[in-house]
């Protein structure tokens, strides 16, 4: 087991190297990160020269990449290239974004998975029932909608709701600016209220699409499994239908859902770009978009590397789970 994990991590290292090199090249292709800074106000040639020197932009491309990679491995992820007070530490920024995004994504994804699995299993067991038809219909409509539209509509619905609360003399409960920087304040009940008000809308808009997706996968794989001989054998042995569904069928029906979950989860940890943009959360996704717009090579690389590591780890966990769910699958 340990050997398997170590081997999997080792074979993903070339992926990280090639990926980061390509990203480095792509950011380079966008142009000079200091271009705008130079135009902001008249700068002396010495000042410009110093700025380029500090950011390493005088070095050849390849050398700069190797320097960055060496720094990344030893924990120095670099600084944003804009000189002066605007310069920020990449590691600090990325981990701040990761903390913001992870809090949102983990909750929303786990909820989506649980709801999706429940709906998928019921839909498969009671195929062609009214429940199945309505669940299918809702799922289709939901994943035919762009995420940002669901977000924008939720946001616009929250305004009259908040107005209504205010008219009753209460606080404007639902907020759309991410978690407050200083943490939640007030008594315990008040903090819970604030927490729910902050997380409600982004969680709902992530949930809406994701649970629809999981429920479709769960339903399809359950239908597949329920038609198999060993399920009929279990039924013929006289086991209760609950036992057959949960102990025999459900376990095997989980594998496709876990695959989709792993891919989604890894990518969302790297930033729920659209949801964060709509609800003004300063997470990984918005950091990525901002850094792309500012042509910040090290910042983009920081986000991409953390995303890549998250994808690698979540796929690894998915593979370990396969072996646990279906003992015929061997790791190795």
């Amino acid at each position: 087991m340990l050997r398997y994990i170590v081997r999997r991590i080792l074979i993903s290292i070339p992926l990280l190297i090639v990926g980061s090199f390509l990203v480095f090249g792509l950011v380079q292709g966008m142009g000079d990160p200091l271009g705008e800074w130079k135009l902001q106000k008249p700068r002396s040639p010495q000042e410009i020269e110093l700025a380029y020197q500090q950011t390493g932009y005088n070095d050849p491309f390849f050398e700069r990449y190797v320097n960055w990679a060496g720094g990344f491995v030893t924990g120095d992820w670099g600084k944003s290239v804009i000189p002066g007070s605007g310069s920020k530490d990449v590691k600090e920024e990325v981990f701040h974004g990761l903390w913001t995004t992870a809090r949102l994504v983990i909750g929303a994804e786990v909820l989506a998975l649980l709801i999706g699995m429940a709906i998928g299993v019921i839909g498969a067991v009671r195929q062609y029932s009214i429940f199945d038809y309505s669940a299918t219909g809702v799922a289709f409509v939901l994943f035919s909608m762009p995420v940002f539209c669901i977000g924008l509509m939720l946001k616009s619905a929250a305004i009259p709701f908040n107005d209504f609360l205010q008219s009753l003399g209460m606080e404007r409960w639902i907020t759309t600016a991410g978690p407050p920087p200083g943490g939640f304040s007030g008594g315990f009940g008040h903090q819970i209220g604030q927490y729910v008000g902050t997380f409600l809308l982004p969680t709902l808009s992530l949930l809406a699409i994701q649970f629809a997706l999981y429920s479709r996968f769960q339903r399809a794989s359950m239908l597949d499994v329920l038609g198999q001989d060993y399920v009929r054998t279990a039924q013929a042995k006289g086991l209760s239908s609950g036992r057959v569904i949960f102990r025999h069928a459900f376990r095997n029906g989980l594998i496709p859902v876990i695959t989709v979950f792993a891919v989604n989860f890894g990518q969302l940890i790297g930033g729920a770009v659209i949801t964060e943009t709509v609800f003004n959360w300063s997470g990984m996704g918005r950091l990525l978009i901002r850094s792309i717009n500012e042509k910040e090579p090290y910042m983009v690389l920081g986000v991409v590397m953390v995303t890549a590591i998250a994808v690698v780890i979540s796929n690894l966990i998915a593979d370990i789970l396969y072996a646990y769910l279906d003992p015929r699958i061997r790791l190795g």
Binding site: L22, G29, F140, P146, F148, M153, I274, T307
Partner: protein, 317 residues
């Protein structure tokens, strides 16, 4: 997956009752079409899709206003003269939605075609040759998953490439660029699925027979293996179309997608997202058309999947 051998189904008893001695067998595609046309949701999807195509071509040709018309009166609510109302600069939203739907469809079709071709080629190579080819394709898949689509879009849309083109006064159309980006970043599901099917098909007797008769790899893959994956490929292609419509709108929403003078439904929503509360029609009509495209294509795909599945005995209502 369809049976490799052409399946024929006994004709219904109605023909026998009509006094015919020999029931005429149906071809496989006839069976599939019959199943598809009994799938109500799929037919609904197909009708909406055809109406959307008519909306783009006929609507664009006969509608009295053009998307470029201005000063028709600002922020008019939907009425007989302007069915979808007017926007900030007095532009007719109906004309703009016709144009945007056209661009969104174009992008989705080109992107889905590219997704499907890439996915089928890479997936069948990986599944047929296995070994290092398979590893190479799956490493490539990982790589594309790791590099953010937004970054590629940003490089192509605001990098050195496009600014030079704009300076020269032209260059590749922007909608085409967006379609290519989406085409190159969303083929992974198709290739995984095709790979899995080819892995099992290559061990079948008919493939062995084709090889024994002297068929080379190209012939075996294209003439014998791939036709048996077509059902799944077609269903996946419809899913790619629906995804491309949504991805395009997401890219346009963060400002990395389609740009003026081209347009798209996503761009229309991006321009009007702050109008949602005061002038809701500016948001809801483009939104409605995105959902219509995506939903109709999803329903068609679902109907095709059910129609292709030989295990399917009951026809879904």
């Amino acid at each position: 997956m369809a049976d490799p051998v052409t399946t024929t189904t006994a004709a219904p008893s109605a023909t026998a009752a009509a006094g015919l001695d020999i029931a005429k067998p149906r071809k496989q595609w006839q069976v599939i079409l019959r199943r598809f046309f009994r799938h109500r949701a799929a037919i609904g999807g197909l009708i909406i899709f055809v109406l959307l195509i008519l909306f783009i071509f006929v609507g664009g040709a006969i509608w009295k206003y053009q998307a470029a018309d201005l000063n028709l009166g600002r922020y008019k609510a939907p009425s007989g003269d302007h069915p979808f109302g007017t926007g900030q600069i007095g532009d007719d939203l109906f004309a703009k939605v016709i144009r945007g739907t056209g661009f969104s469809m174009q992008i989705a079709m080109v992107a889905a075609a590219l997704n499907t071709i890439l996915g089928v080629v890479l997936g069948s190579l990986a599944g047929y040759y296995r070994g290092w080819v398979d590893s190479a394709v799956s490493r490539l898949t990982d790589l594309v998953l790791v590099i953010p689509t937004f970054l590629i879009a940003a490089v192509l849309s605001r990098g050195t490439f496009s600014t030079e083109e704009i300076a020269r006064g032209g260059g590749a159309s922007n909608w085409f660029q967006v379609a290519i980006i989406l085409g190159f970043t969303n083929w992974m599901t198709v290739s995984r699925t095709v790979r899995g099917m080819v892995l099992s098909l290559r061990e079948k007797e008919f493939v062995e027979a084709a090889k024994a008769l002297g068929g080379g790899p190209t012939r075996v893959i294209f003439r014998h293996i791939l036709p048996n994956t077509m059902d799944v490929v077609i269903v996946n292609a419809t899913i790619c179309v629906a995804q491309a419509v949504l991805l395009e709108s997401a890219l346009s929403f963060v400002g990395l997608g389609v740009k003026y003078p081209d347009t798209s439904l996503g761009l229309l929503i991006n321009e009007n997202q702050n109008e949602l509360i005061v002038h809701p029609w500016l948001f809801y009509f483009p939104f409605l058309f995105i959902v219509l495209i995506s939903l109709s294509v999803n329903f068609i795909g679902d109907g095709l999947r059910d129609a292709f599945d030989p295990r399917q005995k009951r026809v879904r209502a």
